[in-house]
Symmetry: C2
Subunit: 315 residues, 2 copies
DNA sequence: CTGAAAGCGCTAACAC
DNA sequence: GTGTTAGCGCTTTCAG
């Protein structure tokens, strides 16, 4: 069922069939109809491999992210896939496990069959100089030489802190490596967790329990908590309840990040999250812009934040 | 940087280069070395499009699933991607939104650039007769004519019920459409939710609160609850606490499904979940078996269950 | 063991 | 408007 078959059936040349299939060039109404009929009768389907051999474009991009288990990342993945679909390209998902080696792998030329990469890295620098078109998605700037779409962590944290109230002792629970994203100006105490998981957040809060239950000699008891990551919010809420604290009566809690988990925590947790749809559309747009050469500039975009007030801040 | 360049550089023919690159055929040690050197020096990378034009194989499969937001599905997606990677194929993720029309779309011949489809359908029947190689993943049999890998819901529910205790009034919370998966023999009361989300489960439990808090004239108060879906478990736990019930003192709770959410609920929830790794390996293996013609039989496989006991059943 | 040539199915020049 | 002729980069016959 090749194009030649259709051409023969319709009594025209391949070029004409191609023109009809792609809707380009001039074809008379009669010929067009004849070709379409032949395509229909033969059940012809263009061969994507042949097409991309010529166009040197696969019509597929890679989305490389740490993992799919977190609701935040799953939400971004869904949005990216949707945006890509709208643009007519497929998405190969590549979980890196946050391993720089595997992140580097996807940035190597010839790493796969895809045209370019959207990368959500785990570190602040890229493991290699990318050999393929790439747009980085993250909550911070990683490297000036690559295009990037950012949902700025500092701004999110600041907004989340505001949402928990205007005054009171503030604690921010964050993965160790994210600790320096907390703006000094907030005067917050940072409780470091091993990583951004719920379990790590739980352990971190329990380890610093005096901060929440009684305060320390130098610090009054914390009554405002902001946590980085929608998943970790669950762990923090769980830990605070375990310490016998009521949310929001004793402590008001807000999470930076979305992804579904906070909505069904007990109580539901207020979130400050990037507009993932906007994020995805910009990222996909930038990458495709690189690919078709319509925009070769290395851009740095920031996306808007969405605040969802829930019971954890006393809504 | 084509194969012809390498051939010229090494002073051999393209055929020889091809043989070296693919490790097939007989090439003398000297020639092999010369070709490898040329490849190295030129930084040659084989063109995947040209390769798949010949092999009529893209080296990519589609994973079509309702969405990525649920931990259960995200876990399956991760496992499938890992299994596919091991087998050397990429995975295009296609969220269908549970829409039969979109499920049908991915089963249409020529739907994409991929070689075959792993489908997690939302309904019990496929929307169309598949036009591409397909393996269905699910918790029930959908159609005898397609290959399928199943984590049987009935068995999971039965095991979960056992884990909540040997006796006592049993309630199963399940999405309406899954209600008939609950084995009669358990003598359970089924509480139907709109869907498998946490929110729907919460509302369902609250709507039937008398069942849990005081019992009905005909039924004693339920003290064992099984819920379908790792996500819905969160909603059920939240609802039970809202009703003033203690887990596990007043009611023991177990979830069918995994995905991370149950582990960080309060209290952590016991789960009965399919071995997703095994599931993924079988599914990918079957699909690739179809593709390379090494196994053309339509198989029906069942996978094992993993029981994770946590505090919600009084562990 | 290696080379030359003929495609894989499509698109792109360049004619008519 | 439409046909002809070359390729895209790789894998195969088929020779040698």
């Amino acid at each position: 069922m090749t194009m030649a078959d259709v051409a023969a059936r319709a009594g025209v040349s391949k070029k004409t069939v191609s023109a009809v299939v792609n809707g380009v060039g001039q074809v008379s109404r009669r010929t067009d109809a004849r070709v379409r009929a032949a395509i229909e009768e033969l059940g012809f389907l263009p061969n994507p491999a042949a097409r991309s051999l010529n166009s040197r474009r696969a019509g597929v991009i890679t989305l490389a992210l740490p993992h799919l288990g977190s609701g935040d990342l799953a939400a971004i993945a869904s949005a990216v896939i949707a945006a890509a679909e709208t643009a007519g390209v497929g998405v190969v998902v590549e979980p890196t496990g946050g391993d720089p080696a595997r992140e580097g792998e996807v940035l190597r030329p010839g790493a796969g069959i895809t045209d370019g990469v959207l990368l959500i890295p785990s570190r602040r620098t890229l493991p290699v100089v990318p050999g393929v078109p790439v747009v980085v998605i993250g909550d911070r700037m990683v490297q000036r030489t690559v295009a990037q779409v950012v949902a700025p962590a500092e701004a999110s944290i600041t907004v989340a802190a505001e949402v928990t109230g205007e005054s009171g002792e503030l604690v921010v629970v964050a993965a160790e490596e994210d600790a320096d994203l907390v703006p000094e100006s907030l005067g917050a105490t940072v409780v470091p967790a091993e990583d951004a998981s719920a379990g790590a957040a739980f352990r971190a809060v329990v380890a610093e329990r005096t901060l929440f239950s009684s305060g320390t000699p130098n610090r009054p008891r914390a009554d405002r908590v902001v946590t980085l990551g929608g998943g970790s919010a669950i762990g923090v809420a769980h830990a605070l309840r375990t310490l016998g604290l009521d949310i929001p009566a004793d402590v008001r809690l807000a999470a930076v990040g979305g992804g579904g988990e906070p909505a069904f925590a007990d109580p539901p947790i207020t979130t400050v999250a990037p507009d993932v749809r906007q994020l995805a559309e910009i990222a996909v747009g930038r990458l495709l812009g690189h690919l078709d050469g319509s925009d070769r500039t290395v851009r740095y975009d920031e996306v808007g934040l969405l605040v969802t007030r829930r019971a954890s801040t006393g809504s």
